[in-house]
């Protein structure tokens, strides 16, 4: 899938929800499990700037196309967080800058050491480490896109469903970028394929695992992906990820679901 960076940057904008009547939530509020999942998604979206930090530890951002994408992607994800925070606010759940700051402070030393670890790995592995980041990004964006589509279908809410679909459309553009970059870099280097396969099979965890408790991750994965329909989505995700060069046969998402006891 080709990615036109000029077109993407020109069209990039914060997700719109001003035309959606949030007061509908007064009459049709969301249930507690859905709100818990939305809160998780909201945290992940706002936390993108911290993922960006790790991506920026490699020199890839000096490539104009990558730097341009990161600028737009980061802003779009911020607005996803804002949109979801507005929905949560209608249910008296506050996600403001102070709450986010408290969450980030709570991450402690692991969070402080992450950029050092990423930088050192990048230095040791060399330029091929960019392929790891791009593949990781592709897997995460595939997952986020699937999660939004899944939740939109589950709730069939006159406001939440269209909002989630709008977010998912933007996530699909992010997929196009990351998957294109990952494919190009994996095809170009055997070392990149070997290292990326190792990292994805040994390290990858569902999006949000690093910033949420195990209980929260398990709740969200179970809420969204339990049962045969959920398992089909999970297997589709593995099919897409394993279609990248060097990742053939990997079933990292299904294994992560099994490890968390998400019923098939």
């Amino acid at each position: 899938m080709a990615f036109d960076i000029d077109r993407y940057t020109k069209q990039s904008e914060g997700v719109e929800w001003g035309d959606l009547d949030l007061d509908v939530f007064d009459e049709q509020p969301l249930d507690e499990p859905t709100l818990r999942t939305l809160r998780y998604m909201c945290d992940v979206e706002y936390h993108t700037v911290c993922y960006l930090r790790d991506l920026l530890t490699t020199p890839s951002h000096k490539e104009p196309e990558v730097g341009a994408f990161m600028t737009m992607w980061n802003r779009e994800e911020f607005w996803h967080g804002e949109a979801l925070a507005a929905v949560l606010a209608k249910h008296d759940i506050t996600v403001d800058y102070d709450v986010l700051k408290a969450r980030r402070v709570k991450l402690g030393w692991k969070d402080r050491l992450d950029p050092i670890k990423q930088s050192l790995l990048g230095n040791v592995v060399g330029h091929d480490f960019v392929a790891v980041h791009m593949t990781y990004g592709a897997a995460n964006e595939y997952s986020a896109n699937a999660a939004y589509h899944r939740l939109a279908k589950m709730v069939t809410h006159p406001v939440l469903t269209p909002l989630l679909k709008r977010i998912a459309i933007q996530e699909s553009k992010h997929i196009a970028f990351y998957a294109t970059q990952a494919r190009k870099r994996l095809e170009a280097s055997k070392k990149a394929r070997v290292i990326t396969r190792f990292v994805m099979s040994k390290v990858w965890q569902p999006v949000g695992s690093g910033i949420n408790s195990d209980d929260e991750v398990t709740h969200v994965m179970t809420h969204l992906f339990r049962g045969p329909d959920g398992r089909k989505i999970i297997r589709d995700l593995d099919t897409k990820i394993s279609a990248l060069p060097g990742l053939e046969g990997l079933q990292i998402v299904e294994k992560a679901m099994d490890a968390r006891g998400v019923p098939a």
């Binding site: 904008e13 607005w79 804002e82 700051k101 950029p115 050092i116």
Partner: protein, 318 residues
């Protein structure tokens, strides 16, 4: 914005870590509105006028959410690039455009340098930075469009200037992150104050470009930059004022970063000749001296920066 410096004191401090800056500082809030000498468009204030309004942060707390919502995107439609066919820019102007493009396009690197520190934990600051980076991307894009219209290369070639006092600027993410873990949240004040100084210097450089180029399209661009920068200055000014006023350590670290900086931020990687061109056009001559005085006065008005301002001004033309 430059890195946070180590917790060491710069020379000349007394037993309490107070420098001449500390002893003479009178806290106040300041906003630099007229950032350039010329007034190229209706966006800029006319003449070489320094307008400073004093207020307190709570009275005019910056609305980060509104800033994010109203971010300025592509400027290409506002720029008459066809005008360069009949009236192209001269070589000196184009070289200055290329330098400005270089520093504006290096924003992701600057973002990294800030995000590997405690700055990334402050969600309000990162919300600002997300939009700040977006707006700088489009300024860089406008500059690139001007270079493209002249078939002028965007890359700069040549050896960068080497000055021992600017070594901290060459730190990679590992050293920055390690040092920042020791520095703690005072690093946010350093990022705000150095970001502020950078915006002031960049604003003066765009003013110098407008004065030198004498071209309607550049005037329009300078006006756009003025407009875009005004909100960056508001946020950074408020953050710097408050954080510097609150912490002696933040003032000490900021002084060190300002005096150890290669200006504008990103100039550390600019070839020496190109950097000299920017400094000469911006700060030499009668108009340049006024620009230098404006930068000096604004820096001096920051809490604890009186003496630092003079030393910075001397270095900008050294």
């Amino acid at each position: 914005m430059t890195s946070g410096g180590e917790g060491t004191r710069e020379g000349g401090s007394d037993a309490g870590g107070r420098t001449g800056d500390e002893r003479t500082h009178a806290p106040h809030h300041i906003r630099g509105d007229a950032r350039r000498g010329a007034a190229p468009t209706g966006h800029a204030h006319a003449g070489i006028v320094e307008t400073m309004s004093r207020t307190t942060a709570p009275e005019r707390a910056f609305d980060v959410r509104a800033f994010a919502r109203d971010a300025r995107g592509s400027h290409r439609d506002a720029l008459d690039l066809a005008a360069f066919v009949d009236a192209p820019l001269d070589d000196v102007s184009l070289r200055l455009v290329a330098v400005l493009h270089h520093v504006e396009a290096a924003t992701m690197g600057r973002l990294r340098d800030m995000l590997v520190t405690a700055t990334h934990k402050d969600a309000r600051v990162t919300a600002f930075l997300v939009t700040w980076a977006y707006e700088r991307f489009w300024i860089a894009d406008a500059l690139r469009a001007i270079l493209d219209a002249h078939d002028h290369p965007t890359e700069l070639h040549g050896r960068a200037r080497f000055r021992p006092r600017e070594l901290a600027e060459r730190r990679g993410p590992v050293r920055r992150a390690i040092i920042a873990n020791l520095t703690g949240t005072d690093v946010i004040a350093v990022h705000a104050s150095t970001g502020l100084v950078d915006e002031w210097i960049i604003g003066e450089a765009f003013g110098a470009l407008a004065r030198h180029a004498r071209h309607a399209t550049i005037d329009v661009l300078a006006g756009i930059v003025d407009d875009v920068q005004s909100r960056h200055l508001d946020f950074l000014g408020q953050e710097a004022e408050r954080r510097l006023a609150e912490s002696a350590r933040a003032r000490r670290l900021s002084r060190r970063a300002i005096l150890g900086g290669a200006w504008p931020i990103g100039a550390i990687h600019v070839p020496a000749r190109a950097r000299h061109l920017l400094e000469r056009l911006t700060f030499a001559g009668a108009q340049g001296r006024l620009a230098l005085e404006r930068v000096r006065d604004r820096v001096a008005a920051l809490p604890g920066m009186d003496a630092t301002a003079d030393r910075l001004a001397a270095r900008l033309v050294a």
